[in-house]
Symmetry: C2
Subunit: 367 residues, 2 copies
């Protein structure tokens, strides 16, 4: 059957992990504590940028688009702190106070491009604020954050529509980590097309890698897909290659923490192995990400910094399992070369076999 | 430097997971409870075959060679039960009583060939017992079990020597699951050459996949290598492909639960993905296994039954991580085609690029 994916109604996100309430002066950022999922849905209310940074570091909020949005709101909280502490401050002094705070937010985590980019975009908007004073500039920062928030929500819809159109006809999907509603303010990235297919009545089946060491697949993807009514089976990460080899998967679809100008993809550790297995067995390896995750300033995958999290290896397991003197090698991400990417799904369209030229063409395309 | 690996002294195993004490009439099988490692070294004393079967099922004892040995001793306990219950029984009645017990032992787990093979070998020896009575036959079964026990211990030495000779010059190894001293009565299979290289003063470094869902790498491999003084770093299973891609690994070495006549390998789930990554990046993918694990009665990998363990997926993790209504796909093993195996290391020598002909030639070679 043919669907008009461009006009089809999309479902509401099964959950949204972040919300801002109020104006710049009295407002607060509320974050769903993702470390406590699936058992508890605990909301954390932030009125200081420093605690937002802490929550980004400890992964209470995680996923490239949403840490960008959280960073943008954290910048509002930082600007408010400066503004309310010294209301009569001049603009150059204001920026002098704000800059180190902005830097602290931007560098909370290194791999996802969204965080640093959101902070830089906020600062650019603030500096462009005509004849501004600290109060006006803080308000402009809130506008910029709300704009990014809305942009990412709408980007998910574009990804959902373009991805569903490209994937329609395939029914069994394998995903890794969590790239769903919990990583953004809309339907998600990798999971957005799957929500769209499911809402259109396609009988889809999702396999979710549990995704060690932090179990985002077990804890978050299984949780949100079940909440959205999409059938999901969790597998050990090591089972993925065999699952693909046995013909149980029609496409692999993952999100991204950063896509280089050449189309190389940094994503949750374990992604590269899926790309190898998909390639070997001739099924598409699909990456879904908003344009904000594509970093034209990063030439290639090798230039993407990979965060090391040595203490994560023993996380979430029974302490009786840990040998004494445990040594680990624990990158949080890996790099998949563009040559293994069958399709890059963005809100502006699908780039098949992405490379530098095709990605430039995508950005040059009118939205 | 050139080593005479054939005559070099080998280290003692850092631990041995099984021991028989006593004669057939008063003896007992002692098993190290591997589910409690690394925290507790608890020994379980078995005087009934049924509890050995239970311990094989619940993986208190695991690893292809050692479950074969445990099965052989369990058969002694089963035969003793029959003999002592009805001392005056004739031989045909004895076998009538023994056969269903033997069947129960042989089928406790399906994938490793060693278990069924050990039981069948014991029964063959028992039936060949000249003019036997139940007591004599039970004694013959004990002899057969002790013979297998000693054979596997010596096989490890052969694997250690042949494997070390083949691998020498490489220093950084990646292994999966646990194929060390804990899977047999000697130095192990995949880890045996690494113990030999270490004992010869090579500065080796082992990366151990944590091996979800049962964490044999984290719980057992890291534990026994540390006990043996070999440097080891644990990685998430998903990190392996990136580790290889970044050039940190000189060879992958794993054990096997069953090798088909054609050289296809069933081993712990996650093995196949390592073989794909090794192939992609041009490093050897090495399988170490005693001849008892090569099943000439199984034509190809597709014929090897793969045990499903759906309840394992949530094992060893904080229960707060489990979503409600968790569905899983949970094979305990996967299959790696012979075409991806660079070398099969056995006690009788190394078969490079194994296939049916080369494996037949290995068996035809005088020990």
């Amino acid at each position: 059957m043919t669907e008009d994916w461009a006009s089809r109604a999309l479902p509401a996100p099964p959950i949204t992990p972040l919300r801002w309430r109020g104006g710049w002066r009295d407002g607060a950022l509320e974050l769903l504590d993702q470390t406590r999922l699936p058992r508890d849905e605990t909301w954390l209310t932030h009125r200081a940028y420093t605690t937002v940074v802490d929550d980004i570091v400890r992964l209470a909020v995680r996923g490239a688009p949403v840490i960008g949005i959280a960073g943008a709101y954290a910048l509002v909280l930082a600007a408010r702190e400066v503004t309310l502490a010294e209301p009569a401050i001049d603009v150059p002094t204001f920026f002098e106070r704000l800059t180190p705070r902005a830097e602290r937010i931007a560098t909370a985590r290194p791999t996802a491009v969204n965080l640093g980019a959101a902070v830089r975009a906020g600062l650019r908007a603030a500096r462009a604020c005509p004849g501004g004073n600290p109060e006006q500039i803080t308000d402009v920062l809130l506008e910029a954050a709300m704009h990014l928030d809305a942009y990412e929500r709408e980007a998910c819809e574009g990804i959902a529509r373009h991805g569903a159109a490209w994937l329609d006809g395939r029914t069994r999907f394998l995903t890794h980590c969590n790239a769903g509603a919990l990583v953004t303010t809309g339907l998600g990235t990798a999971l957005a097309p799957l929500y769209a297919l499911h809402a259109a009545g396609r009988e889809i089946q999702v396999y979710a890698d549990e995704t060690r060491p932090l179990l985002q697949g077990l804890r978050l993807t299984a949780y949100e897909l079940a909440r959205g009514g999409v059938p999901v089976q969790v597998i050990a990460d090591g089972a993925a290659a065999g699952l693909i080899a046995e013909g149980h998967v029609d496409a692999v679809i993952v999100g991204a923490d950063r896509v280089s100008a050449s189309g190389d993809v940094a994503n949750k550790v374990g992604t590269y192995g899926l790309a190898l297995a998909a390639d070997r067995h001739g099924i598409p390896f699909v990456v879904a990400a908003p344009l904000t995750t594509i970093d034209r300033g990063t030439v290639a995958g090798a230039d993407i910094p990979i965060e090391q999290r040595p203490d994560d290896v023993g996380r979430y397991v029974d302490p009786a399992c840990l040998p004494s003197g445990l040594e680990t090698w624990a990158p949080a991400f890996d790099r998949t070369p563009a040559a293994l990417v069958s399709a890059l799904v963005t809100e502006r369209g699908v780039v098949e076999r992405p490379d530098a030229t095709r990605i430039e063409t995508l950005f040059a395309t009118a939205p």
